[in-house]
């Protein structure tokens, strides 16, 4: 019996105690000496020029150190490429305080730095700035005809595959047809933790930036290029994050401004954005989707078209994969997918949990529901008839795909067989309408290059590190489990460190790839350390492991023992103590096995069953039950994985029923930019949520067999709920969120 098989177990968060006792430190909480405080001033207009900044009035206040603006910003890197971070879209990145041009509402236009926070905020409230306003365009509706196809500017973006078959003809000839447009507005990430940077000045040209970011190396690269710092002199740290959801993928203007001010003032600077300013640097774009589906008499899809148009800024072409999924989720031989952007006077949109797929699954999965009704089929039966055995976009088999099992297990758990098809045909005992709907999706299983380091001390404590991110997903915990299991140690004997450019490089915390990428690096590194430990073990007098190769032994229960004979074992701690070494170290990295992977399509899938209850008179909707069945390879930790999917469902409920950043185009400005009016669910909105994992064995995706679950759980939730609302009421809402007024 092994007590050190940790992978897959519902291990509680190893960072839980630090979080609940307050010892976990966030970007704005690091105590550094001689700290000053910054306050950002944001533009009230969406387009125009700054004509005058009355900085002198504010500088006269004792304790105000500087007012930074385009008028006195230091000379910095000149070329756009210096400002490009790892996930920058094509175009010309926004440069804070670069010139007097206003490109979007709430653009940072000045930074006040003072000896204390209150003074900085007060001074900022007094600063008079004059503007010359120009006419802005912020409405996507007015740009329907101005869409363009973007280039491959951004990492991870894939233009839609070329059309296949003859979708127009097939649509015309098919017996069942539908076409519709679906819309959702802009949404903002709104993590609980505000964006903040504590820039510690460590002497001329030396900075440590404690920054809210999902990628410390990305920020380091950004800062070194712009400010001409040496890598060794620019340390970036993020040990904890109060939610990211993609908002921390790109270096934000908070880190730019804090570091710029610290270098100029030769003082440490702390800068925290306000909740209102959290609406100023990237969002899920307002998107219009047009779908056109046709079905044969036997219920198979005859044709599928999916076109999307979404906003981007004037200066960058933000792209995400909205429509591509529609060419691979269902079997269909006549497919046309289109994707366009339109430029507006807004900030560049930004990856937000399941970027593109969360959006695309709304269009596709509501359209599939409409199509099922047109064809007179149960929506689940309709999906089963169109099950994709191969990825037709790439014409490749899936490395693994247990979506069919998700359909069956999810349906059984939910009780789908008791559903009656007709809208308005189900009611609860109080007479409220009941609606049941489904929706699902597909997401990439990706692995990125990643490195790690491991070190075990004579007392048997293992420390593993990699500059990965932990935004509440469970990175600390799963990496600890992988390391502990690989070297046969109890959880308590392992410490995992992350979020620091002093540690080996890891990719951005995004794309659902951390478990696969960093996990594999941790595994490889611990195996490399294991090899060293085996050699030391073999040096013991009378070692039972003499002559054994690494593959002949296993690390279990704090021992190294022969696989063939478990009684032939040495205790790891004895090995270390006998070796005379104070510690043994190894480092290694992991890369995806491209040769093995390129023949396959690597994806995770899910299906969501949702129940709503609707008060038909008052238009209120409550999501009373959700079952989310997910096939995402191997699950490393049932507890943290389940939590991720629970969070996804909550967010899906939010997308379906509440969430939208509303812009007043008269001002080109988001008007509900606060927590009171930007609605996300409260506890009272959330009822039963069930998460099912249908595990897949897959040694193609990576040696751990994990596909990642950060995003897949979100897919189809909003569509399932919207479809359930149709089932309850007969009202087909095609612009989300489904709020009271749309059901009256």
């Amino acid at each position: 019996m092994s007590t050190t098989n940790h992978i897959g177990k519902p291990t509680s968060r190893v960072d839980g105690p630090a979080k609940v006792t307050g010892t976990a430190r966030y970007a704005a909480e690091y105590a550094v000496p001689d700290l000053t405080y910054g306050w950002v001033i944001s533009s009230p207009i969406a387009k125009g020029k700054i004509t005058k900044i009355h900085a002198d009035e504010v500088l006269a206040l004792p304790g105000v150190l500087q007012v930074f603006s385009h008028e006195n910003v230091p000379s910095l890197a000149w070329f756009d490429r210096s400002y490009k971070d790892q996930v920058a879209p094509g175009g010309s990145p926004f440069r804070p305080l670069h010139d007097n041009e206003i490109k979007f509402s709430q653009q940072p236009v000045a930074l006040v730095v003072a000896e204390n926070f209150e003074l900085a905020r007060y001074a900022a409230s007094l600063l008079r700035i004059e503007y010359e306003q120009e006419k802005h365009e912020t409405s996507l509706e007015t740009k329907r005809e101005d869409g363009f196809e973007p280039g491959r500017g951004k990492t991870g973006y894939m233009p839609p595959p070329p059309p296949r078959g003859n979708p127009d003809k097939a649509w015309e000839e098919a017996p069942h047809r539908m076409e519709a447009e679906y819309v959702h507005g802009a949404q903002h990430h709104n993590p609980m933790e505000l964006f903040a940077t504590t820039a510690e000045w460590r002497g001329e040209g030396k900075i440590t930036a404690y920054d809210k970011t999902q990628g410390v190396y990305n920020v380091q690269q950004y800062l070194t290029k712009i400010f001409g710092l040496k890598k060794d002199d620019c340390r970036v740290v993020n040990e904890y994050m109060g939610g990211g959801f993609g908002s921390g993928l790109r270096p934000q203007y908070s880190v730019f401004l804090a570091v710029m001010a610290a270098l100029e003032l030769k003082r440490s600077v702390r800068l925290t954005l306000t909740r209102q300013q959290m609406f100023s640097f990237g969002h899920r774009p307002h998107t219009l989707q047009y779908l056109k589906l046709a079905t044969n008499a036997d219920g198979t899809l005859a044709a599928l078209q999916h076109h999307a148009l979404h906003e981007t800024s004037r200066f960058e072409d933000y792209t995400e994969n909205v429509v591509n999924w529609s060419g691979m989720l269902y079997q269909c031989d006549n497919v046309k997918l289109g994707y366009q952007l339109a430029k507006l006077d807004v900030y560049t949109p930004l990856d937000m949990r399941a970027p593109g797929a969360a959006t695309g699954s709304i269009g596709l999965e509501i359209a599939m529901d409409e199509m099922a009704y047109e064809a007179g089929l149960d929506p689940l039966e309709f999906r089963l008839r169109n099950y994709a055995e191969r990825d037709q976009n790439q014409d490749k088999p899936f490395s693994s795909k247990k979506l069919r099992e998700c359909y069956h297990q999810g349906a059984a758990k939910f009780g789908w067989d008791k559903r009656t098809q007709a809208p308005g045909s189900m009611r609860d005992k109080d007479g409220k309408l009941i609606g049941w709907g489904i929706g699902g999706g597909v997401w990439d299983a990706t692995q990125q290059k990643s490195a790690a380091k491991a070190s075990i001390t004579a007392d048997g404590h293992l420390t593993v590190s990699s500059a990965a991110g932990e935004n509440g997903t469970g990175t600390y915990t799963i990496m600890t489990q992988i390391a502990a299991e690989t070297l046969g140690l109890p959880i308590e004997a392992v410490t995992f460190k992350l979020g620091d450019t002093d540690l080996p490089e890891a990719p951005l915390q995004g794309g659902s790839w951390t478990a696969a990428s960093v996990g594999t690096a941790v595994k490889n590194t611990c195996e490399a350390l294991g090899e060293k430990l085996l050699k030391l073990a073999q040096k013991l007098d009378d070692s039972p492991l003499k002559g054994a190769k690494l593959e002949d032994v296993e690390f279990v229960n704090g021992q190294i023992r022969l696989r063939s004979d478990a009684s032939q074992a040495v205790v790891l701690r004895d090995v270390l103590q006998a070796s005379g070494e104070t510690k043994v170290e190894a480092d290694s990295s992991a890369m995806p096995n491209m040769l093995k992977q390129q023949q396959y399509s690597l994806h995770s899938h899910n299906i969501v069953f949702a129940e709503v209850k609707v008060d038909e008179e008052l238009g209120t909707v409550h999501v009373t039950r959700v079952v989310n069945a997910v096939a995402a390879g191997r699950i490393l930790n049932l507890k943290t994985a389940r939590s991720q999917v629970l969070g996804s469902v909550v967010w899906g409920i939010s997308m379906a029923l509440m969430e939208e950043t509303v812009m007043d185009h008269k001002f080109g400005r988001y008007m509900n930019h606060n927590y009171a009016e930007y609605h996300v669910p409260v506890n009272a909105d959330i009822h039963d949520i069930d998460v099912l994992f249908v595990e897949e064995e897959d040694d193609i995706v990576n040696p751990l067999g994990v596909k990642g679950i950060g995003e897949v759980g979100m897919l189809g939730v909003a569509a399932a709920i919207t479809n359930a609302v149709f089932h309850a009421t007969g009202k087909r809402v095609r612009d989300l969120p489904v709020m009271i007024d749309k059901l009256l």
Partner: protein, 340 residues
């Protein structure tokens, strides 16, 4: 946030004295709204007079059978007070439909009356707002006005009063006792808040320096047949799109007395006595309720993104009156899971 001085008042007279002649001064109770407004630079008082420690937190019976709610009693203590729960359950329900437990623990009764609108534009200094800056214009008219009013609006302002508690109070009709530089006076609740007209910067009829000391509820509490129905964009911690306080006195199926007030629709808690008169003496039927609802919304005007409120309010009135007849305790649209 502006710099300000702070004085903790020791007596009502002391508080009033601190305020008099200082239009830049403000009373602060729980601070749950004023502090937000100061952080946003919407309000910039230079002197705060804290009234939180004044001896005005008692809730006590009045000789006429009514109940006095001290101005500094918290919303939570008021809602959960035995006399309020048993005699004025409508008030209990309305208070509990608002804000969050944390806010209700801080917020005072006087402060609840004094809270300012939640109109998006009022809160954003980048946009014109007549209420914040008289004469600058109303951005909500022709703008995004989901939270704005449909009744009693003016060309200069369509903001709403955000309180839930005040909607129940409008139905229960207490008097507001105030103390000021010229002594004490009483204001009927219906006269306390005002419509925007061409002076939207004025939310109420208080004279400069006047301080609310208590709310005196009349004896009649409609404790048998009442309902507070709140409709909003999520189940808690959201302001009402439309809320209805309905209170009935029934004799068999005949309505003897009726009170009807709405929240989320006007610059003040909207009580409609004409509609109440249409209910009185009538059978308690859906038809009667619909007539009253039509009356309330007779002159309603939508402003684009809040057009739906007209129909929603009609339906909410009918539902709330139905619930009142049933003696239903449903406070709001908080949903109880039927699949625990």
């Amino acid at each position: 946030m502006n710099s300000f001085t702070y004085h903790r008042a020791t007596a009502v007279a002391d508080a009033v004295r601190e305020q008099s002649g200082r239009p830049d001064a403000a009373y602060i109770g729980g601070g749950t709204n004023l502090i937000d407004l100061m952080k946003e630079n919407v309000a910039r008082p230079t002197h705060l007079v804290s009234v939180g420690k004044l001896p005005l937190s008692d809730i006590e019976n009045l000789p006429d059978g009514g109940l006095r709610l001290g101005a500094t009693a918290t919303n939570a203590d008021t809602a959960w007070h035995e006399e309020v729960k048993s005699r004025y359950p409508l008030l209990n329900q309305a208070i509990l439909a608002g804000a969050s437990p944390q806010l209700r623990n801080m917020a005072t009764n006087g402060g609840n009356l004094m809270q300012r609108t939640r109109c998006y534009y009022f809160y954003d200094l980048a946009t014109p707002c007549n209420k914040r800056e008289p004469g600058s214009g109303c951005s909500a008219i022709g703008g995004y006005n989901r939270v704005c009013g449909i009744l009693g609006t003016s060309d200069s302002c369509i903001a709403t009063h955000p309180s839930d508690m005040c909607v129940a109070l409008a139905a229960l009709a207490p008097t507001v006792r105030v103390s000021g530089p010229n002594g004490e006076r009483s204001i009927a609740f219906d006269d306390f808040h005002r419509l925007p007209g061409n002076q939207p910067e004025k939310d109420n009829t208080l004279e400069p320096g006047e301080l609310i000391v208590s709310l005196d509820l009349p004896a009649k509490g409609f404790e048998k047949n009442f309902s507070y129905l709140k409709l909003r964009d999520r189940s808690s911690y959201a302001f009402a799109l439309v809320s209805v306080a309905a209170a009935l006195e029934l004799d068999g199926n005949t309505i003897r007395d009726a009170r009807l007030a709405l929240g989320g629709v006007a610059h003040k808690p909207w009580r409609d006595q004409e509609a109440e008169n249409l209910l009185k003496g009538q059978p308690a039927t859906v038809e009667t309720f619909a007539r009253a609802a039509a009356k309330v919304l007779e002159n309603a005007q939508g402003h684009g993104s809040n057009d739906f409120k007209i129909e929603l309010a009609k339906r909410a009135i009918v539902r709330a009156l139905k619930q009142a007849v049933e003696g239903s305790q449903t406070a709001s649209d908080v949903f109880l899971n039927s699949n625990p």
